[in-house]
């Protein structure tokens, strides 16, 4: 295992050369380095199977690493497992709840196992249930809860012992937009008002963009980009322009015109897109060029760079596809 110096702060996460290799399988985590500062929301972004959940399991002490080292809340994850667990809370990928127990039963069990004094258990449980909006449903069996309610209870259970670091593994997967927004609000409040460090894995670009102070993009077990969302998008720099010709047979001609203003980029079927070399200022020239060629368009969109563009630039793939693609390939396919 590689060595790791003591972290300056006890509320952060520091990872060096972390590896997890499964028997007869690929390296799910392939030598990652990362640092999360106290009070920061760190978004760990990547497609399915990229290694996000394996990393979380290792950092929460539920899976020993094959190599590398990590300190969480100032404690070594291998040698000081109990101390790490005492400092962290975690809501793992599936909301692990007992469908036969009520929300209040869950709170009672969690507060007891976490060692809260008997006199505080009920009050702490109710406080958290109220905070996540489940007090009215506290005595209902969890089997009858909606997906959003289960996620909120999962979050509340992770907070019972007032952890300094919170691990959330794809906390909003499968939730409706309203439930997702409510959870985002609570996570942001925890970091802002209580100074909780949040390590959040997600496959939703928007989630990482909205919530995270800094982002690490992971692909095939390796971190391919890291930085603030703004800095990562600024690396891409130029906006992209996407056009849908009024006549579908004109798509190649439209693509030809666009090629004069920058390099082709991924576009949906029937459309053509280009990363504008001259930025948004080139828009007027594009319109004039299309007009000169007698080409009409039915839809016209100017996109600022997104984290998806960052992922594409770093991996050659879109977040939602496993196949390597290039802009040219996509344009040709369209």
């Amino acid at each position: 295992m590689s060595s790791l110096g003591a972290m300056e702060s006890s509320d952060g996460i520091e990872v060096r050369g972390l590896v997890r290799e499964f028997k007869n399988g690929p390296r799910a985590v392939d030598g990652i380095d990362l640092q999360v500062s106290p009070g920061e929301i760190y978004g760990f972004l990547g497609p399915n199977g990229a290694g996000k959940s394996t990393t979380v399991l290792i950092l929460t002490t539920l899976l020993p690493p094959t190599a590398g080292a990590a300190r969480v809340a100032g404690h070594d994850i291998v040698r000081e497992g109990p101390a790490v667990r005492a400092a962290i809370g975690a809501a793992l990928q599936e909301a692990a709840l007992d469908p036969l127990l009520t929300g209040r039963d869950h709170m009672r069990l969690q507060t007891t196992l976490q060692g809260l004094p008997r006199g505080e258990r009920r009050a702490r449980g109710d406080e958290l249930l109220e905070r996540v909006g489940l007090l009215d449903a506290a005595d209902r069996k969890v089997g009858g809860y909606s997906g959003g309610m289960k996620r909120r209870l999962d979050l509340a259970l992770a907070l019972v012992h007032r952890p300094r670091i919170l691990f959330l593994d794809e906390p909003t997967t499968g939730l409706d937009p309203q439930s997702r927004a409510e959870l985002w609000q609570e996570v942001a409040r925890l970091a802002r008002d209580e100074g909780v460090t949040v390590f959040l894995t997600t496959q939703y670009l928007e989630e990482a963009d909205v919530l995270a102070d800094r982002i690490g993009i992971i692909d095939h077990g390796r971190i391919v980009a890291t930085g603030t969302p703004e800095a990562l998008k600024a690396e891409i720099g130029r906006p992209s322009l996407e056009l849908v010709p009024a006549q579908p047979e004109d798509r190649e001609r439209v693509a030809g015109v666009l090629a004069r203003f920058g390099s082709h980029t991924a576009a949906p079927p029937g459309a053509a897109a280009v990363r504008l070399d001259g930025g948004a200022e080139a828009l007027a020239d594009v319109v004039r060029a299309l007009d000169a060629e007698g080409l009409a368009v039915s839809d016209f969109q100017l996109h600022a760079p997104t984290l998806d563009d960052v992922f594409l630039a770093r991996t050659g793939r879109k977040m939602d596809t496993e196949e390597p693609t290039t802009a040219e390939h996509q344009v040709a396919a369209a």
Partner: protein, 260 residues
């Protein structure tokens, strides 16, 4: 914040186990009524067997009621195994692993809850037996000893269920074990005393089948009073099964509940 003492952890997990059971009538009704129904059917149909020379009692209920305790233990096996398998399947075990819970607390908590249900069922078997004319030769002190043996047997079978549930992580796998043990129950001295079993192959299997000695241990309280040999064999096999199954279940939990 310091971790809760082990007894508090066990108590809370036992409470959960009992709550789970009470909220599933399907886990309470069959362990009580199915064994009693079988005793009723066998007693009415096989009463004539008491006329066979050498049959130890003239009331077949006295002979048959012991089987109910073993059947109740088989239900304890299914309940304990299914509950733990569900915890593996739902990821609840990982939630518990994130707390300062000690491993023995999970196993003992689950088993305590299951045993409480088994104790309730056993008391109902005894009351039903008395109503049907059962006579307990061991007297009032025998009630406690019989319940102790019944609980030991239930513990052993529940631990087997826990072992299978934790190893497989599948409720279906646990359910799949039930028929196997049910066959073993019938290939024992459940219907006739071993010396009276006519077919040699059946008698041989019943002799090597530990379940025969568990049944005979319980039966001895009812028919014989305090039979040292039957009780030594009954308690001996019950303890051996419980110890082996608990060791296996603990190992399975250690493998399943990985944490640094």
């Amino acid at each position: 914040m310091s971790a809760a003492p082990l007894r508090v952890q066990i108590g809370e997990l036992a409470r959960r186990s009992i709550t789970q059971t009470l909220r599933q009538p399907a886990l309470i009704v069959p362990p009580i009524f199915f064994p009693l129904m079988l005793v009723a059917v066998n007693s009415s149909g096989l009463q004539a067997a008491t006329n066979i020379p050498g049959f130890p009692t003239d009331n077949y209920v006295d002979f048959a009621i012991a089987v109910a305790f073993i059947q109740g233990s088989l239900f304890a096996m299914i309940n304990a195994g299914s509950a733990l398998a569900r915890d593996v399947e739902t990821g609840f075990l990982r939630r518990l692993a994130m707390t300062p819970m000690q491993r023995p607390a999970l196993l003992l908590g689950h088993l305590s809850g299951v045993l409480l249900v088994a104790l309730g069922s056993s008391l109902i078997y005894l009351v039903a037996g008395w109503i049907a004319g059962m006579h307990l030769a061991a007297g009032p002190g025998g009630v406690l000893a019989l319940l102790a043996l019944a609980m030991l047997i239930a513990l052993g079978f529940a631990a087997i269920g826990a072992l299978v549930g934790l190893r497989s992580g599948s409720g279906e796998a646990v359910q799949g074990f039930f028929p196997l043990f049910f066959v073993l129950l019938f290939l024992s001295s459940s219907s006739l005393p071993r010396p009276l079993i006519e077919h040699e192959w059946f008698r041989t299997i019943a002799t090597y089948n530990p379940i025969s000695y568990l049944i005979e241990g319980i039966r001895s309280f009812i028919i014989d009073g305090w039979d040292g040999e039957a009780l030594a064999l009954g308690f001996g096999f019950a303890i051996a099964i419980a110890v082996l199954a608990l060791a296996g279940a603990s190992q399975a939990l250690r493998t399943r509940l990985v944490r640094t």
